[in-house]
């Protein structure tokens, strides 16, 4: 749960407008993130969670919701 809170904090920081995503909500379909904020999100996740995201994992579906981001980060820790 703490990790989800941290992910939402990151999303709020990089999103161009105020957002309040629910854990399962698609960040792209709902228009909360666009292609370029996705680039910022990946960089912020690497920095905040001290992980290295390889190019092979740079696909939107891994970062499409708070839950999917949390699941991915767990796999990299």
């Amino acid at each position: 749960m703490d990790r989800q809170i941290k992910i939402i904090e990151i999303l709020r920081r990089i999103a161009p407008k105020p957002i309040d995503p629910s854990p399962e909500e698609s960040l792209f379909e709902s228009g909360l993130l666009d292609s370029f904020t996705l680039v910022d999100l990946v960089a912020a996740l690497e920095s905040e969670f001290a992980i290295k995201i390889p190019d092979s994992d740079l696909t939107p579906r891994k970062f499409d919701s708070v839950v999917s981001i949390e699941r991915y980060i767990q796999s990299r820790l």
Binding site: F28, D34, S35, F36, L38, V39, V42, D55, S56, L58, T59, P60
Partner: protein, 314 residues
Amino acid sequence: MAYLRAFGSYLPSRVVDNTELATLVGADADWILRGTGIRERRFAAPEESVASLGARAARDCLESGGLKPNDVGLVLVASGSGERCFPGPATAIGASLGIGGVPAMDLPMASAGSLFGLALAADLCPRYGNVLVVGSEIMSRAIRLDAASRDTAVLFGDGAGACLVSAERGAAEITDFLLRSDGEFSEALHMDQASGLHMDGRTIILQASRKLPRVIIELLERNRCRPEDVAAFLMHQANLNLIVRVAQALGVPEEKFFQNVDRYGNTSSASLLIAAAEWRRGLEGRLSQPVVLAAFGAGLNWGAMLVGGGHRDV
């Protein structure tokens, strides 16, 4: 040694601005500008072909260099939107120039094709003499101008660029280049004869935002050159936001990145050479500072080229 000797370009006369395109695809003109940095693009006339656009750019290139078609020893043509699977437009461009018999090869690679063509030309010019590299695209016939395809329809335009690579002399020596390919994401951007262009824009932006700065830095470092030493960056004109991201990643001012994507949109393989031709028109004589050319596209294929400076340790 190989040199960039002359550049040329050709843009169709029909201008399609965001207001006209927005009506066709059910989008908002301001949304197109905000998301892409594109204000307008060119669409080819019905009687024009990928080969005819390329031939116009090739002639412009030869004229700007004070050369004749017979001075060309090899033609390399990058295009992903040729009207036929084969032959590609290379032989037709050679025939249009009146140099039948001169070898002409196609590089059906789309956006990174011109950069790969320049790199091949650098290696081949000692054998063939002057190598004419052409990038030519009619993307308006590859996209669907409807609401379902609006995310990709708003990006593309038509045009052609050309560059003559010489083993003898030119404005700048090609110091070094790095080419990279990775088929893992080939499905993210492809074009089929039947279904047209498909692009997963988010994946492409993610991959390009990381791979482009990395390949440029790797190229500069191995040539003892820093980003701040580079006078100008000439990139494939895909999206203004991507160009800005690459500038930020390299820590150099955006102003060092030549851009004309606002006027022509993404012309795929043609864009790098159109940008180079327009950039070069504002300058005279030999280049006194390093310049970097870089491109990224379907394949995935990407790379960077350093001209006019740096020194590679052997």
